[in-house]
């Protein structure tokens, strides 16, 4: 089984048409999974092996983070952490506790003075080196999808969730100004990356909902966040590129807004609260849906169970395009490799259009 990447196939399905087969779609796959697939160690620095993995595994693109804040846990090595560490140490040179500059533990913008003093210029210095390195390595047919966004997440993390929430209601002008600073940086990334012809889309990774529904009201999202995503979607579409959105949680109440602002593909359709087959029936032709294979299934089910689950989704969500196979979040290192392969192989073997399962 030697799949070849074809971004036009992916794009065709995302736009709601049938192509050669149902695409595979992930925003993040652990290096351990990549290493097991290639039979050698793949490291974060080894971009050539990463390109080889995404290509040979059957994906039509490679996701490359180009952002102030990247998907996954905020670590000491995260760019945002390094920026915040520099900021904290400038004020408190003797500070040694890493929690003092890690957004998982603390926040930084509590009032307008904090907003004014934040090092926005330094924050806007985005690193494009990995993107450029990958651009030279892509096989024919493959493109890069740039992972950016996190406008909502980064704003509330910088403000602290409680402070952010209170101000959404009590001082929306302040919240709007923080969003403006964060979003302007993320938006500027798009202007740079979309000029590169090997970039096929932008993937905004921004968790907006709990399992019970949106983290803030749909109206507040529409006031603070969605205007930026609409601008991003418009810019992507003008460049003939895709605008993809990742968000955990129950997005049911946000779906009309996401469709209206121009999201081409929504991922991962959180399996703890949403059913991709039912959603496909409701939103077919208006937005492409990807994901929904539960991470717990990838972790501890049998490969036969994964295959059965994927077959069910291809059969019921695949026809007509507008659906891609993928995990219910990402494929972290703790996923069972055989189950990842079962998801992948089932798609390659049984995802050919017209679907005949």
């Amino acid at each position: 089984m030697n799949p070849t990447p074809d971004f036009e196939r992916f794009k065709k399905v995302v736009k709601g048409e049938e192509a050669e087969r149902v695409p595979l779609c992930e925003v993040l796959i652990g290096y351990s999974i990549m290493s097991q697939f290639l039979g050698r160690e793949v490291t974060p620095e080894d971009v050539a092996s990463q390109v080889e993995f995404w290509s040979k595994a059957g994906y039509d693109y490679i996701p490359i983070p180009v952002s102030l804040m990247t998907p996954g846990k905020v670590t000491d090595e995260s760019r945002i952490t390094r920026l915040l560490k520099k900021m904290v140490l400038a004020k408190k040179p003797n500070e040694t506790d890493p929690k003092a500059w890690n957004l998982e533990y603390t926040s930084f913008i509590h009032d307008r003075s904090d907003l004014d003093q934040f090092p926005w210029e330094a924050a806007a210095e985005i690193d494009y080196s990995k993107l450029d390195a990958v651009g030279d390595l892509l096989p024919s047919g493959m493109k890069v999808v740039v992972v950016s966004g996190k406008i909502f997440t980064l704003t509330w993390m910088l403000m602290g969730f409680q402070n952010f929430s209170l101000n959404v209601v009590l001082d929306p002008g302040f919240v709007r100004d923080v969003f403006m600073k964060v979003a302007t940086i993320q938006y500027s990334v798009l202007e740079n990356v979309l000029a590169r012809d090997y970039v096929g889309g932008v993937w905004a990774v921004d968790d907006m909902a709990f399992g019970s529904g949106p983290m803030i009201s749909p109206e507040a999202f529409d006031e603070h966040v969605f205007p930026w995503y609409r601008k991003m979607a418009d810019m992507c579409h003008q460049a003939n590129s895709l605008f993809i959105l990742h968000s955990d949680g129950d997005l049911t109440k946000l779906m009309p807004y996401l469709i209206d602002l121009g999201v081409d593909l929504l991922q991962p359709i959180d399996p703890s609260c949403m059913d991709i087959v039912a959603m496909k029936q409701e939103y077919a032709g208006r937005i492409c849906l990807a994901g929904n294979v539960p991470n717990e299934m990838l972790r501890k089910a049998t490969s036969a169970e994964v295959e059965k689950y994927v077959l069910h989704m291809i059969k019921h969500a695949g026809p007509g395009g507008g659906y891609c196979v993928g995990s219910g979040n990402s494929v972290p290192d703790w996923s069972d490799f055989d189950n990842f392969m079962a998801m992948r192989n089932t798609t390659l073997n049984h995802g050919k259009y017209p679907i005949s399962i």
């Binding site: 409680q162 209170l166 209601v169 803030i216 991470n295």
Partner: protein, 208 residues
């Protein structure tokens, strides 16, 4: 006047709450009545609206904040200058779990419902939690886990509580995205709350 106090909480009139409570006191309304009917009662409505999806976390948090501002005004006028707590709750996230949004929301709603809440923080070992239970003797211990990889820690906490002879002295309630009633029953917790409103209801049930 009580209606105006309630309205301030429901309609987020933060700047009005303190003067409204003062006026209610000046008019001779019983401090306990202001607290129960003016301040705590509308939080039940807020809890219901949140549970039904009519309002969202920010709206709920602001109501809880305004309610607490009103309580601070009433407090000096209560017998002994203290709020009569409906019971003590310890709350925290288990070892390995830094996600505290849900825990903070639950803590805020519990406080707004009249409970004394001691927030132990995040990433807590079973032993540390059990020591705090031993020291602070809460009526309810609330444990939160957001990850499938950390939910197993809840079982550890229950085991350590049992080993230390504390299990029958405290009701343990659990919450977090990957949890459900089935999990709570399986590990031997006393209750599961799907949201802040349900967590408050459990506290009321266990500390009535």
């Amino acid at each position: 006047m009580l209606e105006k106090v309630r309205e301030a909480i429901l309609a987020h009139k933060k700047d009005d709450i303190e003067s409204l409570v003062e006026r209610a006191l000046e008019q001779g309304l019983e401090p306990n009545r202001i607290m129960e009917e003016g301040l705590i009662a509308p939080m039940d409505i807020i809890g219901e609206k949140f549970a039904s999806g009519e309002i969202f976390v920010p709206e709920m948090m602001v109501s809880a904040l305004i309610m607490k501002m009103g309580l601070e005004k009433v407090k000096p006028h209560l017998m002994g200058g203290q709020l009569e707590s409906k019971g003590r709750v310890l709350i925290g996230t288990v070892k390995g779990d830094l996600h505290d949004i849900g825990k903070n929301i639950v803590a805020m709603m519990m406080e707004a419902s009249g409970f004394e809440v001691i927030d132990l923080g995040v990433d807590l070992s079973a032993e540390d939690i059990a020591e705090k239970v031993k020291e602070l003797k809460p009526g309810v211990l609330g444990l939160s886990a957001l990850l499938t990889t950390t939910m197993g820690q809840i079982q550890n906490v229950l085991t350590v509580l049992t080993e230390m002879g504390l299990r029958d002295q405290v009701k343990v309630i659990v919450g977090g995205a990957p949890l459900n009633n089935e999990f709570a029953e399986k590990v031997g917790a006393d209750g599961y709350g799907d949201n802040a409103t349900e967590a408050v209801a459990l506290c009321k049930k266990f500390m009535a």
